[in-house]
Assembly symmetry: D2
Homo-oligomer: 419 residues x 4
């Protein structure tokens, strides 16, 4: 591993917790060069909801590449892009009563967020974006201003402005009526906080520590935005594409955001791809007003279209997620129960689950022990106090159980170690 | 094409000038679904320096994918990443006496720029970045603040600050000694412009209209930065990877930037990938202080490493570029000469070439006519007054000549049309 | 009045509600050029706590000017300045156990605020200032960023940043525990709100609508600041110099701010003068780092020193204020009681009193009717829904009663008019 | 002087160079408490153009105060304000063909600048203000962003944005055609510098080191602004009220700015007062959109009106300034000639004159020696390398000569000391 240490920047991070060299991966299993295999409860931070190298996606990709189809096309029209747009419209948008326009804002989630807030500001002529405590929206300067993490914000090197921070659901432990603060800021011309262009929210905050917003809270937020002529943006980059069950994580709340950001598992197989979706009447972009070199990476369109066909033409897949979510949730509750005296708790939605520790060191020790025992899990939350579970959504039940057994044992050991 | 019009956002741009649906592509030829073929003098805006679907790169990619090697790995260690880092060190860095640290800042060029200016600000504790007129560095908020184009800046929706603008080489037509303004700003404590953290510059401004900085200008800029303890950043996203001949476009000037941004042709085959390189002593990042989901797209590492092995182990490839550059340059001079009374001119470096029109409408008409005749070229410059030529670097001479003949004829017709 | 309409800008304001030309004034009475006299319950927005043309202050001023003493001296040493500093130390600071350093930041309150936040940022190296809903701190760009009023903020023409807004006491009607939000923002590294350099607060918000912070709320705020290494700034520009009873309005809460802003009634007779006071260890200014032409207006030093000698060497004056405050408060309660069915309420501290109307139009009509009847009162609050009473502190009881009778009758008529 | 050291902040500045306590002052003479008298070539940094305690102004002030006329009136209508507005219109505006609206923005010059840029931004809807190298416009946050001095800017504690810096006349020593850079920035949509709301300029930069703009340069700047729909603001705070001869310093260039800032000598006798003047069609302020407690300090209106009547009803006074300017200029040239080998030079306009030293230490030593010998002069310029002469405009010729003799001798000694 010396070349990494010699050549790669200190900014590298995941490799520090998982000090081995990975080589191959299939479905929910990753193998390192020593041949050791790991159950993957990390799934590319939610970018691999359908698992590694899914055979159907892989075949579509290989076929496309083998025939010299066009790979890189910026925002030219291509057959692969047309197919993706058709499938996305027919399989995802139309059945859900959504008529969003689709923008390809660049290859990464942070590009989708940058495009969303640019458009919100352009449409409204306002500068302020309301964001939530412990949000994560990306690392480019516009998205970073919406991100909560102090260390990551500190990296900006310039003040991050044009935002107002609001408390996420549960943030004040129910000690203030929902949205009282936001309502007062909006209704009072002396509050000093102007009308935002938009509110941006995750339905479940993954990086923030698997914080789950209640459906009624999301509905009230959507209503408040509509009443106050504020655009309502859902960043569904990590929680979309089925992570919580339905394709869009906000479906369960019965809301229709004005703007939606998608990325991560969108391409299905880990290829860089992102979308910004918005109401047709918001589509006031000038041609080329937002652009980028890797907006048109056709192999990603191919695997994305294939994934839609494979997983989203009926409800089988999302029901499967719900079933597996129950399995995981039950086992986590059991772990919590077993360690009752150590103040563990669990929370989550669908297959985004968190095991919350009082002592962040215990969370870290759990991840380390899990790695040694062949399970990949990472921590999240402001103090990295939450062990975050994001297994591929089609992980077989047996493998889920195996992973959870490793986790259970790792927790037990970690608690001892950090007592 | 109705699905594009129905579903895709108005922000789409290239497709407007090239209203057809492309399907396959090989080397310097692109084919649309009617079977019409086009010579590609655009090359993915410089992302396809080795042409479309180069067989060696394609084979490496297919082999990698077929064997269930890991595709998406964030910044975990993988065998593919290790190979890329080794090749990059051995083939690119070491022979050039460079000992840069390598950061994977995200999949697109704009991520490389965001990481570069974050790091420059962090290292120096200063906020100001000096940028040049007609620069293009990307569309996320940090990079956009460094970009010159008024329309693109307007899309930000918030003020773009923490920068100072300096005149690029030739900008004032030699009516001011080079760097006089910059020197005065720096030496005068009453100038109101503080010491920048860094200067960011392109050696040739592609989007800005193929503006070429002289080697002595670049050297003087590098010297001025060093004397004033300002970090010197070269954005080599479009001009690197051999576009002007050598791997790094700044090699010709004999300078060693403190920070370098690479992307576009880096992966060799149009796969999203970007790097930020910097002097080892600048590597003060905290682990994870800058991150992103698609930093570790292994297929891009594979094609990138293969491209280095294929094109950069000796000087054959860069010499080929120089030869072809002469061919293109000569033919463009001829076109300019033929249209002497219409005020054309040409400029460029290596295979980044521009044909400059007095009337932007003529440039637009040239591109349109070229498209009809089977040649893909786009315009650039603040008024889109420059027809920009960025052919794949390995385009056969005959095909270059064919393309230039189409171009010549298109110019002739365009001048008539817009007279 | 035609010259005003012809020559003076539309920005003029108070003259619109009081459309007459004033000529002379004595104590709490102002006379216009028609000879009509008005009881002044406005007192220069709190700049005339000792009334108009107080004979002792006037004599000191005339004597000083008559003898060709130096008038304008920037920050040179003068005898008048020395006397002021001595008196301020001996009469105000030392008896209260305060050892503040004194800065002359310029002639107006807004200068005192600008100096305060500059210093807080310089001392801490942080940029963020926490401010409160409905605060008013001035109209220059730094102070305006701390001001709540939307119309006034809109006048900035640029985004007003580097602040975070917190709810003032009572703002959320007790529906959230005091400072819960602020505590969470501070303790949670994922809140996205960094550590402020300082908190700036008025003990009673005058322009904001006579909102009175409880002593225990102020103490808790001061404690919270100290615990979190945040500087605690009291803007005592309107409420200082005895408005609420003691010289500093914060004395009643038993707190010692790190920085204090004074102006308005400081000179005693309406002469422009302001101070920024701070803990000696915060005095890290470079010589001249903050300056201004009218920092050294010696006639103001003379009247200011005289006012300290006249009113503040014992507790008579502040006790007088308390007595008159009771008188005013009782009468206002009576008015509220008389109009019980119209939803009036009253609040205040010392001789800063507000009569709060449900319908802002009624407040406006009250002020207009009072003017007609010979009483000057203005409205305040985000919707101008509060009739604000700031009479000179030494207004004779009889005149207070006369003014309150006019007010009572004006309220009665205004309620009818706006029913 | 112990009370100053004990109580006053370290920010104090002038007193450091002039370590004595001043008591009285008359015309161009200041006396300290030891009885030593000083010739004043500083004149309150230009705030005392008519000298200290001018008998006519003093009498008007004493009469006004003695009769209990109203002192403090915010922006209510008063007889004193009416008289000032009438006189200002009749004596200053109308004869010069100016129909400016008059705003009272607060008591200090920095308030006049803040109001000017607020209004420019409001009228144009743009944020950017163009400012010049070595400008000084004040110390509140909006004005400070326009100020060049690095130390003073550093005091802001936050980034100072929304401006673009341009080279003042002579800044590049004639090595670039005037306004070439500004023209290119404006005409090139790729410059990255948008259209400013306004340009703000001093005709002579006092704090910047007595830098004098040529009349043709000012005219070209005014033309360029008009052609590009940019508001043209002259900050005449230090150079107005006759400092360079005519009432407005820009009269000599034959230009009519869109907005003018006045303060310093406006009140005539050192009383805090400032004005912002603007074209009537720009007067789109909302009532109260910019306000402040000390906008209506009536004694200043009285002395200001009296000064207009006394000095500006015919050309005698301004001609006197021109004569004295010749006297001073000749003597300074003589000093320069005497010290030819030490690289002195002199520059200036009217009675704003500078003696420029190669070695800043010599300028400092000159000021110190002059103080010892009974002459008050201060240094200016980015390195404090310029001894700045701003004597009262009505200083008798003999006293001017006496002062210049002291200066000459001080220069001689200072050169020796710092050789």
């Amino acid at each position: 591993m010396s070349v990494f240490e010699e050549v790669e920047s200190q900014v590298r991070s995941y490799c520090r917790g998982w000090p081995t060299v990975f080589t191959t991966a299939k479905q929910s299993t990753v193998i390192d060069e020593s041949g050791k295999s790991y159950i993957d409860f990390f799934a590319g931070a939610g970018a691999l909801n359908y698992g590694h190298n899914h055979p159907v996606l892989k075949k579509a990709l290989l076929d496309y590449l083998a025939e010299d189809n066009i790979v890189h096309s910026l925002d030219m029209y291509t057959a692969a892009k047309r197919k993706f747009l058709s499938r996305f419209r027919d399989i995802i948008l139309t059945p859900r009563g959504l008529d969003y326009k689709v923008q390809f804002p660049g290859p990464a989630g942070t590009n989708a967020v940058e495009a969303a807030i640019k458009l919100a500001r352009k449409v409204t002529g306002r500068e302020l974006i309301a964001r939530f405590t412990n949000a994560f929206h990306g690392m480019t300067l516009g998205a970073l201003a919406l991100t909560g993490n102090a260390m990551k914000r500190g990296g900006a090197g310039v003040p991050l402005g044009h935002t107002v921070t609001l408390p996420y659901d549960h943030y004040l432990d129910g000690q203030m009526p929902d949205f009282l603060w936001m309502r007062r800021l909006l209704e009072d011309s002396g509050s000093g906080v102007g009308q935002p262009a938009a509110v941006i929210v995750e339905t479940v905050q993954g990086e923030g520590g698997i914080n789950v917003a209640r459906a009624e809270w999301l509905r009230a937020l959507a209503d408040l935005c509509r009443e106050n002529d504020i655009l309502f943006i859902v960043d569904d980059i990590q929680m979309g594409c089925g992570r919580t069950g339905p394709f869009f994580s906000f479906e369960a709340a019965g809301i229709k955001p004005d703007i939606v950001c998608l990325s991560k598992s969108l391409s299905g197989n880990g290829l860089p791809m992102a979308l910004t979706l918005f109401r047709p009447d918001l589509d006031i972009w000038e041609p080329g007003e937002h652009n980028g070199t890797f907006r048109g990476y056709n192999p990603a369109f191919v695997t994305a279209a294939t994934a839609l066909e494979e997983f989203w033409t009926d409800s089988t897949f999302s029901q499967g997620t719900s079933g597996k979510a129950g399995l995981v949730s039950d086992r986590l509750e059991q772990i919590v129960g077993e360690q009752a005296e150590h103040g563990l708790s669990t929370r989550g939605s669908g297959l985004a689950r968190g095991l919350v520790f009082e002592n962040p060191a215990t969370a870290a020790a759990t991840c380390a022990e899990a790695f040694n025992r062949g399970l990949l899990v990472e921590s999240a939350g402001p103090e990295d106090e939450v062990v975050k579970l994001l297994p591929p959504l089609n992980t077989p039940d047996e493998q889920l159980k195996d992973g959870l057994s490793i986790l259970s044992e790792s927790v037990r050991i970690a608690i001892k170690e950090t007592a």
